[in-house]
């Protein structure tokens, strides 16, 4: 697993208070990990802080799974 993926996973575990084993790439924040819409806003803010990236509103709306987050951040970091 990439460094980014590890860090994303850690942030999700911390913010949503879920077990690490549940944070699979396919896991949806809302459907599988018990987040509500405010939790996801906060999660995206936490990603922005941790990775020092900007995630605009329209991009944030498309991030609904752990994998979406990892891929978006990886693209930003590669760019």
């Amino acid at each position: 697993m990439s460094e980014i993926a590890e860090k994303v996973k850690k942030i999700v575990v911390e913010h949503l208070g879920v077990e690490e084993s549940k944070v699979t790439p396919e896991a949806s924040f809302i459907d599988d990990l018990g987040a509500d819409s405010l939790d996801t806003v906060e999660l995206v803010m936490a990603f922005e802080e941790a990775f020092n990236v900007e995630i605009p509103e329209d991009a944030a709306e498309k991030i609904s799974t752990v994998k979406d987050a990892i891929e978006y951040i990886e693209r930003q970091k590669a760019a």
Partner: protein, 422 residues
């Protein structure tokens, strides 16, 4: 004709500077213990008042408060401390009353009315710092809901599925009494059969202490002997001591409680309100607003003054307020003042602002249950003599069937409530 409804208390929860849990706190209060200490949660170097009643941290089994025993860790950041304390007190009260809604109909007949004087002050402070640092876009999406006063009621309703009236009160230091009194009326008027009511406060923070210091309301002469600082009616008193905590009652329509065989602590039998229309912080001359609040509560309950056995005074330990309240009680009670016991439990826990009236309701009810008047600590040299027994320094066993509790707030708002043994 509509049958007369009555309101009784069937559950209680409290978390305050003497700890967490009704019986634990009461035992310590009656033993004459104090919950006032040096402030440990932040640096008080620049503050003239360095003492407060903070809720002891630790496990529930030891009568202490640990938010993670009451709220899932991931939700802590969604609630300011006053909400966490309120939720703990409400959870205790719900456990104590032994009732849970079993149907949608029952859910819609049960509501919540928990207030706070100030709300999420520390949360607002921290968010303000973020804005000041140019990080306005980094504000948490939970900032607003973690600071809003009515969110104690919101969280309690969500936790227990209570879909009846969801309300809140903000009347400074009169909040707790107003919340309980208004909730009782919602039951009397038929809006609900059960109400979870009380107050919560957590303003022991730099803004809270600094702000009340600025209005010259806090004690500053006892920083080295904190337990001696809150001394209502004593000649050496020099201001109130801030406390934090929450208390919540479960109020229930009498027949509703009787049908399910609930334990009944007491009945809410009188409630009176008034305004001073005088000054933003100082009580009116002769504390005539307090006089009228008590008078209204007696009239509401159909009581004569000779029927009141115990008063839990507002008695904050401020130079002006204490004696004015005493004078108002003496004037209202006349000859009946001689048989009266009146104490201020703020001497042991400080002034819990919006939670004060709710905590003092719990103490008034327990005074009735156990026939004990809790003490006014540190009342060594009264600044003024009185025929009223102010229960100086030690608790007293005495017959208490009916108790009245007073709370008065900034803005000139006054409330009195009367409880009686059933």
């Amino acid at each position: 004709m509509k049958a007369e409804r009555r309101v009784v208390v069937t559950g209680m929860g409290v978390v305050c500077p003497l700890g967490l849990g009704v019986e634990h706190v009461w035992k310590r209060l009656i033993a004459g213990e104090s919950g006032i200490r040096r402030i440990e949660s932040f640096d008080t170097t620049d503050l003239p008042s360095k003492i407060a009643g903070e809720v002891p941290a630790g496990p529930r089994a030891e009568g202490r408060f640990d938010p993670s025993e009451w709220i899932p860790p991931k939700d802590h950041k969604k609630m300011d401390r006053f909400i966490q304390l309120g939720l703990a007190a409400a959870s205790e009260a719900m456990e104590d009353c032994g009732w849970k809604p079993a149907s949608e109909e029952e859910r819609t007949r049960a509501g919540v009315l928990i207030g706070s004087g100030i709300g999420g002050l520390q949360t607002i402070y921290e968010a303000s710092v973020q804005v000041h640092e140019g990080r306005v876009r980094r504000l948490s999406p939970f900032f607003i809901p973690s600071a809003l006063i009515n969110l104690v009621s919101g969280h309690v309703s969500i936790k227990y599925g209570l879909k009846g009236p969801n309300h809140s009160v903000v009347t400074a230091c009169a909040t707790g009494v107003h919340a309980i009194g208004d909730a009782a009326r919602l039951i009397l008027w038929g809006d609900a059969d059960l109400m979870v009511a009380g107050g919560a406060e957590a303003a022991v923070c730099p803004l809270g202490i600094g702000g009340f210091c600025a209005s010259r309301a806090l004690s500053t002469a006892f920083n080295d002997t904190p337990e001696r600082a809150s001394r209502p009616w004593d000649r050496d008193r020099d201001g109130f001591v801030m406390g934090e905590g929450a208390a919540v009652l479960v109020l229930e329509e009498y027949e509703h409680a009787r049908r399910r065989g609930a334990k009944i602590y007491a009945e809410v039998v009188g409630y009176g309100l008034s305004g001073d229309a005088y000054h933003i912080t100082a009580p009116a001359e002769g504390h005539e607003g307090a006089y009228r609040a008590m008078q209204n509560a007696l009239r509401n309950g159909g009581f004569g003054v000779e029927e009141i056995d115990y008063i839990n005074a507002h008695g904050t330990s401020t130079p002006l307020g204490d004696d004015l309240e005493l004078e108002a009680v003496e004037r209202l009670f006349g000859d009946a003042a001689k048989r009266l016991a009146m104490s201020s439990t703020k001497s042991a826990i400080g002034h819990l602002l919006g939670a004060a009236g709710a905590v003092e309701a719990v103490f008034s009810i327990l005074a009735i249950r156990d026939q004990v008047a809790p003490p006014t600590l540190n009342l060594e040299h009264p600044s003024r003599e009185s025929v009223i027994d102010r229960v100086a320094c030690e608790a007293q066993r005495r017959p208490i069937r009916t108790a009245l509790s007073n709370s008065f707030g900034f803005g000139g708002t006054n409330a009195s409530i009367i409880f009686r043994a059933v």
